[in-house]
């Protein structure tokens, strides 16, 4: 496997947009060519090497045989791994907004925290975040009817608000808590939140959400106690305001409290 290492020394400026940092784009390029790909810093067009230190295996390979390792505090670097279809991107540190936008395949690993809009409109592949994720993980773009459609996002810390908004497919798992309105307007897919969720599944019509605890909307109907993976959950169906058939499982929780 070809490894390309991209290091970010201390960075304090305005955000950098680097949507070309993806195995699909870099795998077939030499290190020199990679150094010259275009990134944007605010309104300035720069070469990758103007900000980053690039090293790694010199020979071009296919995307699926390429591993890009990013090191440093990349919380101000946006759109890493956008539209990637194969290979591995590993971020040793925090990632900026829109990591894994429209991702179709491959693996994106973030060892620190992820910014907002992680895996926005994701179609496939896998994202693993060791830390927390920001708002709108696995969501869609403003005004769109569909967010994430496929693939998997695993967040080992907490997630922000509007997790998986307009989720249409795929799986999101959050080991910690989720912010307000996880899984709102879901039309499919699966969200598992091990911690607390505030008003999950608002306006969902299909799909399923599991939460360790939750404040449940008054427009969800309690059905039964069910057992999932050895644990008991209260099962609700909703959101009835949309005549929804979504399933909400809450380990402990109550309506309106």
């Amino acid at each position: 496997m070809r490894t390309i290492t991209i290091k970010l020394p201390q960075y304090h400026g305005v955000p950098v947009e680097a949507e070309r940092i993806s195995p699909d784009v870099l795998s077939g390029l030499s290190i020199k060519e990679i150094s010259e790909i275009e990134v944007w810093q605010g309104n300035r067009r720069l070469r990758l090497s103007d900000i980053f230190l690039i090293s790694g295996d010199p020979d071009p390979d296919r995307p699926e045989n390429t591993r890009i390792v990013l090191e440093g505090d990349l919380s101000k670097v946006k759109r890493i791994g956008e539209s990637m279809s194969a290979g591995v991107v590993e971020i040793i540190g925090d990632a900026g907004m829109h990591a894994g936008n429209s991702m179709r395949g491959g693996t994106l690993e973030i060892k620190g925290d992820a910014g907002d809009w992680l895996g926005r409109e994701m179609r496939g592949g896998r994202i693993i975040v060791e830390g927390n994720a920001g708002n709108y993980a696995g969501a869609g773009y403003r005004g769109e009817r569909c967010g994430m459609r496929g693939g998997e996002i695993i967040i080992k810390g907490n997630a922000g608000a509007f997790l998986g908004e307009h989720l249409c497919g795929g799986t999101i798992e959050v080991m910690g808590d989720a912010g307000d309105f996880p899984g709102c307007a879901n039309q499919g897919g699966t969200i598992r939140i091990h911690g607390h969720a505030h008003l999950p599944g608002a306006e969902m019509v299909k799909g399923s959400i599991t939460a360790g605890s939750a404040r449940v909307l008054p427009s969800f109907a309690y059905e039964d106690i069910v057992e999932l993976g050895g644990l008991t959950y209260k099962k609700y169906v909703g959101d009835l305001v949309e005549n929804g058939k979504g399933e909400l499982y809450v380990a402990s929780g109550q309506i309106g409290k």
Partner: protein, 119 residues
């Protein structure tokens, strides 16, 4: 804590350096019950502390408020207490901020002191 527009705040908001505006936006309104419970009277001040900051304001009564809620006309004093988290949608939480309210002898800063505090 919730913040919002009032007539006096509005009338003064095109003239931010006026007494009218400053007096209005440096006032913290409480329910009658809370006002009494804290032993407040005319001219007394309050120290408000939130997870995001703190400020000293004059105390006032708003009969429309329920117990446990304070109202501050929108402006620099209220904003000493609000956080910058917008939950990804651009809007910070101007309403529904948890604050601790304690009577204090400290005086209310003038607007320049308040704005440039710590600079």
């Amino acid at each position: 804590m919730i913040s919002g527009r009032t007539l006096a705040q509005g009338a003064g908001c095109e003239d931010k350096m006026s007494r009218l505006y400053i007096d209005e936006v440096s006032c913290c309104y409480l329910s009658e019950e809370d006002y009494r419970a804290l032993g407040l009277s005319d001219g007394m001040n309050l120290l408000l502390t939130s997870p995001h900051g703190s400020a000293v304001l004059r105390a006032g009564v708003d009969k429309g408020l329920p117990k446990g809620m304070v109202f501050i006309p929108m402006g620099p004093w209220a904003n000493m207490l609000t956080g910058t988290d917008t939950k990804g949608c651009g809007m910070p939480g101007f309403k529904g901020v948890e604050v601790e309210v304690t009577p204090t002898d400290e005086k209310v800063l003038d607007i320049r002191e308040l704005m440039l505090r710590g600079r």
